[in-house]
Subunit: 150 residues, 2 copies
């Protein structure tokens, strides 16, 4: 429902601070990429980021986008959602494991608020003896908007 402006500025500043702390440079291209990642809760793909960045910096190369998201991923400031079909989506707002709802029709990805994930993780640890460090949980289906529109 709320599609418009959120409060991504705080998140953006946070990432900028992290970069400066570790002596990484804030280039215009990086700033543009960061803004996209911090602002969108739509989990953009590399190509989408690339297209958007080019609006402001037409000379930006795809390699730079890859390098930047890889850097952010390594710094733990972005969650990379790679899919088997090769597509990649990035989440700059919640860079930690959390469930995703993937609409197979419009390809939008949203974040549901599920209570029992923690519980499930603990169940998995107990039953298997694993020391669980992270997880990945995706639901695939048709979102309410796409069900209506059909």
């Amino acid at each position: 429902m709320s599609e418009g402006a959120d409060i991504p500025e705080a998140r953006l500043r946070q990432i900028l601070t992290r970069l400066k702390e570790r002596d990484f440079r804030i280039t215009p291209q990086r700033l543009a990429i960061l803004k996209i990642l911090a602002a969108s809760n739509g989990h953009p793909s590399v190509d989408k980021i690339f297209d958007q960045v080019k609006l402001d910096f037409p000379t930006t190369s795809l390699a730079t986008v890859y390098k930047t998201v890889t850097l952010l991923k390594e710094l733990g400031e972005v969650l990379e959602l790679g899919f088997p079909d090769g597509s990649n989506r990035y989440d700059g707002n919640k860079p930690y494991p959390h469930p995703h709802m993937v609409c197979l029709k419009c390809k939008r990805i949203s974040d549901p608020d599920l209570q029992s994930v923690e519980e499930l993780t603990r169940e998995a640890e107990q039953k298997t003896g694993f020391d669980i460090l992270s997880h990945r949980l995706d639901f695939f289906g048709i979102c309410p908007d796409c069900r209506q529109g059909d």
Copy 2:
């Protein structure tokens, strides 16, 4: 705990029946691949399947392995587990969504028995309004064997 021989023959026969039903040929190479997929609960990769098949049929090509697993995937007889890093693992025993425990050290993948997955799926449907068609749930960590061995 039970790591040894199971009863993969039933599963193998089932897949063979499916292939025959749809008029696909049972070649020696396919049979070898099927045996590996039906027997192993270790979720082998394409390369591992390839290596094993070559023991019996040294002339087998990687393309044939790819074609066969793709065919089986399309028939719904194999579950493909693709990972962001490009690796692919295949499950010929339970070709439907189910949770996986991935050991980051030994790379082994096992199937935990978790009760609350159904429940979680229903929660996700209710809270998001999605019509959920499938899901993917992976836990990443260190398995008991690897914790000991260290």
